[in-house]
Each structure stands twice: as C-alpha cells, then as structure tokens.
C-alpha cells in the first residue's frame, strides 16, 4: 500500500490532534510503560504532593506528537528527531491539542514546529503543555538511517 502525499510547503499546517486523557488512559499508560509512579493515579499521593489532580506523564506528549506526524505524513515516513520542552502540568481528564506547522522542506525530509496546548478545564485556563517542540521527519521511508 502506497500513500501519495500532496506536496508539502513551508507554512502548511498538519491536521491537529486533540485527545482527552482520562484517568483510565493514564492507568493504561502506566501499565504499558511499567511506570506505576503514584502521582499519575493515586488520589492520596496526589493530595500529599499538593497538586490539583493526578498528573499526566509528560512522555505521553511525545507519543501524541509521533501520532500526529505519522498520521499526517503516512506510513512511509520516519520520525527521526523529536524534541519538546515542558511548560505546565496536565491533569487527568484534561484535553490536549497537538498541532504542527511545516517550517522546512527538503526532498527527503521535512521539519515541523509542534505545540501541545492544554485546553481550559476545571483545573484552569488554556495553557501550553509543551513549547517549543520540533521534529524532523524522513519522507519516503518507513525506517530510519540505522536500519539494516
């Protein structure tokens, strides 16, 4: 199966990804990563840590960025570089909006500026979850430069 992408241009916005991350999602992520740190699910521990609610594991944002990029650029792409700086904690039940804008295009790769924004919720107003964030994605190949 080959997906023919339309030509990419600087300034193109990739389809955004919005995801509400429930406590159940957080428990699933804890299981998938063998990370049972109680701040992510245990109300008693959360209260003792003096944070408003169970804290979403920040690494989830990396997984969502990858999902956004691969969904937009097709299965024959490879996320080669991905970086992000955390800005605010996200709590159970909040919704994050991940967005990407093409900032450079070459024959075999594209560079994308990314953002993750937590939408307004009972925990507070809209705020950045991760910014700045960037990715370099190789095009035309499902695997990376280290593949044999």
């Amino acid at each position: 199966m080959t997906v023919q992408l339309p030509p990419l241009h600087v300034g193109d916005e990739l389809p955004a990804l919005e995801r509400t991350i429930t406590l159940t999602d957080m428990v699933a992520y804890a299981g998938a990563t063998w990370d049972w740190y109680r701040l992510h699910f245990d109300p008693e521990f959360v209260a003792a840590a003096q944070v408003p609610g169970p804290v979403v594991d920040g690494q989830v944002l990396g997984a969502l960025f990858v999902e956004l990029l691969q969904d937009a650029l097709g299965p024959r792409c490879f996320v080669h570089e991905l970086s992000f700086t955390f800005r605010n904690l996200m709590f159970a039940g909040e919704t994050v909006r991940c967005a990407g804008t093409v900032v450079a295009v070459a024959a075999d790769r594209v560079r994308v500026d990314l953002s993750a924004t937590i939408l307004a919720s009972a925990y507070g107003p809209q705020r950045p979850a991760a910014h700045p964030a960037h990715a370099t994605v190789l095009l035309g190949t499902a695997d990376g430069p280290g593949a044999r």
């Binding site: 063998w34 840590a49 490879f78």
Partner: protein, 177 residues
C-alpha cells in the same frame, strides 16, 4: 516519572559536591528478554494510536519493514528493562536519586533521536549518563539546577536504536511561588 517531588529542609547551594560527583556517572540496564510485539501493540492502544504499523505485520511489511514495530517513544520508557524494584512511591525505574533538600524536581524536556524502528526481537540496553550540571536562575530570580542526562539505546547486536537527551530541573523552594 514526571511532576514535582518536594523535599523539606533549608535551601543550600544547589550544586553540591555530592551532585557534582554524579557528572559522568553511567547506569546501564539491559532487558532480560526481547521487547516483544505485544509491548508495542499495548503502548499504541494505551496512547490511542491505532497505527497498523504496531499491530499488523502484513501492513508493516508492505511499507518495507520486516514486521510490526513499536511506537517510537516506547523505547525511551526504560522501566520495562531497568528491572528495578518498585519504591514506596510506586516507581520502578531509572533514577539519579537527586534528593536535594529545599528543592522541587520538575522535568525540563526531552530531545529524542531515533535511528531505526524497534523490532519485537530487539533486546534493549539503555545506557544513561549525566553529562551536564548547570546552576541557573529562573526569570523571577529563583535558583535552579539543570541536570542534563543522555540515554543511549542499543540492541543485542550493538545496533544504535535511539538517543534520549533529558533535562531535569531542581528548583529552589526558597523564594519560589
């Protein structure tokens, strides 16, 4: 692990001799078994990513891969192969144990470089190293210590899979909001 860790006590000079001694420290964790296809499929389900590259071998092969692969960032979650006991906070993974009185600990960010797709038969080794400790001040004048570490992920044949540059920030509670 993410989020604040608060430890009590009076704030001291953040870059102590004890912390400085960590510079160059390495910790190496090797998985006791291959990653397995289920680990990648489960991670995809957990984050809501239904990309068939993680679950459909025929689809993955049609894209030029040998078979299913794991979502790229899974490799950076090292608890599965750190094989460490769970602590009282429920954490069972790599830590530098940066317990500095009078500070709270927050994640700064990550910079990943992926070299190739991880495969179910990869037996992963993660090599962590602290490569920089820098004292700074926040924009509001609060002391902080930025700890930069690097994890390099290889497989049983020594193939480079990924590199993860991570920053952890210890923020002084003295004067912090």
């Amino acid at each position: 692990m993410s989020g604040p860790e608060r430890s009590g006590g009076d704030a001291v000079g953040l870059l102590t001799d004890e912390l400085r001694a960590l510079l160059g420290t390495r910790k190496v964790y090797t998985a006791p078994e291959p990653l397995g296809a289920a680990a990648g499929r489960y991670f995809g389900m957990a984050v809501g990513d239904d990309n068939p590259l993680y679950s459909d071998a025929e689809f993955a092969r049609a894209q030029g891969l040998p078979g299913v692969t794991a979502p790229p960032t899974l490799i950076c979650e090292t608890n599965q192969y750190a094989n460490l006991p769970m602590d009282r906070d429920g954490y069972a993974g790599h830590s530098w144990h940066l317990n500095v009185p009078g500070t709270r600990q927050v994640r700064g960010g990550n910079s990943y470089t992926f070299h190739r797709r991880v495969r179910p038969d990869d037996v992963i080794t993660a090599t962590w190293e602290i490569h920089d400790l820098t004292e700074k001040q926040t924009r509001t004048g609060v002391d902080m210590l930025v700890v930069s570490s690097r994890a390099t992920y290889t497989n049983q044949d020594g193939e480079l899979l990924a590199v993860n540059e991570e920053t952890i920030i210890l923020v002084s509670l003295d004067g912090a909001a």
